[in-house]
């Protein structure tokens, strides 16, 4: 295990140090005093690598990441896990806008809330299956263009008006599944999604992820499951058929 004091380091310096350590075979790195440095873990490969961040990492944390695990002890900013391929990001605070943008695999677990456009254009392919779980609430445009994977919002905290999700939920969504613990009003939905009841089969599929989420943050799974979930699914995987004249 190596500890790096990130105070005063430019992101380029910090990330170069991290890459060098990983190249040399280091598996566990703790970063202290992180203050807004971008691109931590960007493009990082290797399943057994763990980076713990004390402080607030900057934008594009874990972008293009391919296998590592990143634990953030406080809040993360925008673009967390942008286009991530594999790996896991655990955030003990809030995460900013476009969390999980275009991610194709791996998991993002956020204990607190997340910003706008969470899970936008997530997609899955074969063994790559992205999972995002947000403990609190999220802002507008959740799951926009979502094409695959699993997104869960638990609403353990609600926004100013008592909502778990913002407006335009699932606009342009054409694949994947979205679960919301609590309720969502019809007017909050984009026109491509419909509300479904959660079946036993659905529960069995999502409970392992929820259980992992609870383990990571010390929540009680039973408590979380006490409240009902709704499921949102696109009613077609071809929202834009019959659009063109041939």
């Amino acid at each position: 295990m190596v500890r790096i004091d990130a105070s005063g380091l430019h992101y380029k310096e910090l990330n170069e140090t991290i890459r060098k350590l990983v190249d040399e075979g280091e598996k566990e790195i703790i970063l202290d005093n992180v203050c807004g440095q971008r691109y931590i873990g960007c493009g990082l490969r290797g399943n057994d690598i763990k980076i713990e961040i004390v402080g607030t990492p900057g934008n594009d944390l874990a972008a293009f990441m391919d296998g590592a695990t990143i634990i953030v002890r406080s809040n993360a900013q925008d673009g967390t896990a942008n286009t991530m391929n594999r790996g896991k990001v655990i955030i003990h605070g809030d995460s900013g806008d476009i969390t999980g943008h275009s991610m194709r695999g791996g998991r993002i677990y956020v204990k607190g809330n997340a910003g706008y456009r969470v899970g936008i254009h997530m997609k899955s392919y074969k063994n790559n299956f992205p999972v995002v779980i947000i403990g609190g609430f999220v802002r507008d445009f959740l799951a926009e263009y979502m094409a695959g994977g699993l997104l869960i919002v638990l609403g353990l905290e609600t926004d100013e008006s008592g909502n778990v999700v913002g407006n335009f939920v699932g606009t342009g969504m054409h694949g994947g599944e979205l679960y919301i613990r609590g309720t969502v009003a019809e007017h909050q939905l984009g026109k491509e999604v419909k509300i479904h009841r959660v079946t036993d089969e659905d529960s069995n599929r999502i409970i392992p992820y929820l259980s992992e989420f609870c383990d990571d943050f010390g929540f009680s799974l039973d408590e979380i499951l006490k409240k009902e979930f709704v499921k949102l699914k696109p009613y077609t995987h071809r929202p834009y058929g019959r659009l063109y004249a041939y």
């Binding site: 971008r38 960007c42 493009g43 972008a63 673009g79 254009h121 263009y145 094409a147 054409h174 041939y246």
Partner: protein, 506 residues
């Protein structure tokens, strides 16, 4: 009510005397326009299905077929042209957005044709490229402010650290065409030709087919708003990365590969399930500003350890000069500008034909702006959009470009007949199709040779023209607008292009 059908654009004429009833035209037409009547022992054509690709004409062993225009299909009218009327009929039938392929085909956008080149006479000698060295090698990437050298035992060492560059033996690259928009054999042809000629091809935004990996040293990979097929392996596979913001044929709009075209092999490179729509959103949703663009540029540089140049491709729009300046300041190593004539596999026709500005004007204003701001050296300018021949290349460079991208011209070298029906996926020439039967018609070895021949020919012509101007390095031509003159252009257009009218001396 009697329904009005869009009239046939073409007529397939068959010389009955020459036709030997081999039925090749019947079997080979992917649009099923030709058919055989056994009772009559005659081959006929349903003209309404003909797209004018001339494939049957080309393969007819007895030269019995002629595909001709149907000029009087619609009563001639300068304003309500046949195309306009046919489009209205199609939309009345379907209620849909008209699709189009290839680039804008309207004549009034070409400035290249109204720009002419200079040559030396008496006062400065011209150079004969057959006997004297002529340098057309071009480097794409950020150039340093100044160069520090150290002389040690007679050899010169470069002390300045140079950021990664692409080395082009000819200032012409193959522009972004994804596997999916064109066939694998077409991709292979261009990849191999790029390798043969020491230049680059571009994967487009559809990910990377494993057969193209071996051409990595001559490949630029694209990262577009859909992020299809973008993972670390992909980003590391090529020699450079290009962030695609826009393309000339569809500025400001996203892309949409319909589910029926996402077959097993396409699904593999795009990394999405078979049969789902591949939607590229109009903007990158992580880029809403120049600052955000900088963030992605540096995310890609961080991810690939600053080992590759990262460029940004935009379509030429009204504000292209300040946007390009922003892109350079955001840290791009090269800026790609695609003009209004830029091609595509599929785009709404109304956008292709009406949005964007001609590339000639865009090159001139971008080059000027970057020079005025003192940042021209920070990025190379690569231009695209209807480059047809070596003259267009050399004019583009004299207006201020470092290199050009060609798409349509490259496809024509592979056999494309510009029927502009790429979006149907039924290309008879094996280029814009994924149908294995059709793809086989394009031999990648022959294709590569033909595309490489084209570049070789253009390179020779460029050297001839340079020599004629008394210039022996393409670098001395870049932005050297004194070598250009305009014909039939307004004073203001000349000012924007930064050139004098023909007839005016230095």
């Amino acid at each position: 009510m009697a329904k009005r059908r869009a009239p046939s654009e073409f007529i397939v004429e068959r010389d009955e005397y020459k036709c030997i009833r081999c039925l090749a035209c019947v079997r080979m037409c992917s649009y099923e326009a030709n058919f055989y009547d056994e009772r009559e022992n005659m081959v006929f054509t349903d003209n309404s299905k003909c797209v004018g690709c001339h494939f049957c004409e080309a393969i007819c062993p007895t030269d019995a077929i002629r595909v001709i225009h149907n000029p009087l299909a619609i009563k001639q009218n300068a304003h309500w042209t046949g195309e306009v009327v046919s489009d209205i009929i199609k939309q009345a039938e379907t209620g849909g957005v008209l699709l189009a392929s290839m680039g804008n085909d309207k004549q009034h956008f070409s400035y290249f044709d109204r720009i002419i080149l200079n040559a030396s006479q008496v006062t400065n000698p011209s150079i004969d490229p057959l006997r004297e060295p002529m340098e057309i090698r071009t480097f794409i990437g950020r150039k340093p402010e100044s160069v520090d050298l150290e002389v040690e035992n007679g050899s010169v060492l470069l002390k300045t650290e140079i950021t990664p560059q692409l080395k082009l033996e000819v200032p012409i690259m193959f522009s972004a065409m994804s596997y999916g928009s064109i066939s694998l054999n077409a991709c292979k042809s261009l990849a191999k030709a790029a390798q043969m000629m020491g230049t680059f091809f571009n994967t487009g935004e559809g990910g990377l087919h494993k057969d193209l990996r071996q051409y990595g040293a001559n490949m630029i990979v694209q990262c577009a708003s859909g992020r299809f097929g973008v993972d670390m392996e992909y980003l590391n596979a090529g020699a450079a990365i290009e962030i695609k913001i826009g393309q000339g044929a569809k500025p400001g709009i996203g892309g949409h590969l319909p589910g029926e075209k996402v077959t097993e092999p396409i699904s593999e490179t795009r990394m999405i399930p078979v049969g789902t729509d591949a939607i590229s959103p109009a903007p990158h949703h992580d880029i809403y500003s120049i600052e955000d663009l900088r963030q992605l540029i540096y995310a890609l540089k961080e991810a690939t350890r600053y080992e590759k140049p990262v460029g940004v491709k935009i379509s030429a729009v009204h504000n292209v000069a300040p946007i390009a300046s922003g892109i350079v300041r955001a840290g791009a190593d090269f800026v790609v500008i695609d003009g209004i004539r830029g091609g595509t596999g599929a785009t709404p026709k109304v956008i292709r034909d009406n949005v964007g500005i001609p590339i000639e004007l865009a090159i001139a204003v971008v080059d000027q702006r970057l020079r005025d701001e003192g940042i021209r050296h920070l990025a190379s300018i690569v231009v695209a959009g209807g480059i047809r021949n070596s003259a267009d290349v050399i004019k583009a460079i004299a207006l201020g470009a470092d290199a050009v991208y060609i798409g349509t011209a490259a496809l024509v070298s592979l056999g494309c007949h510009l029927c502009q029906k790429c979006y149907t996926g039924k290309c008879n020439w094996g280029i814009a199709t994924q149908d294995p039967k059709l793809v086989k018609r394009l031999n990648p070895e022959i294709g590569a040779r033909r595309a490489a021949n084209l570049l070789r020919a253009w390179a020779l012509e460029i050297k001839e023209m340079l020599g004629g101007m008394g210039i022996n390095a393409i670098e001395s031509l870049r932005g050297n607008r004194d070598q250009l003159r305009g014909v039939g252009l307004s004073e203001y257009e000349l000012k924007l292009l930064g050139i004098k009218p023909a007839g005016e001396a230095w």
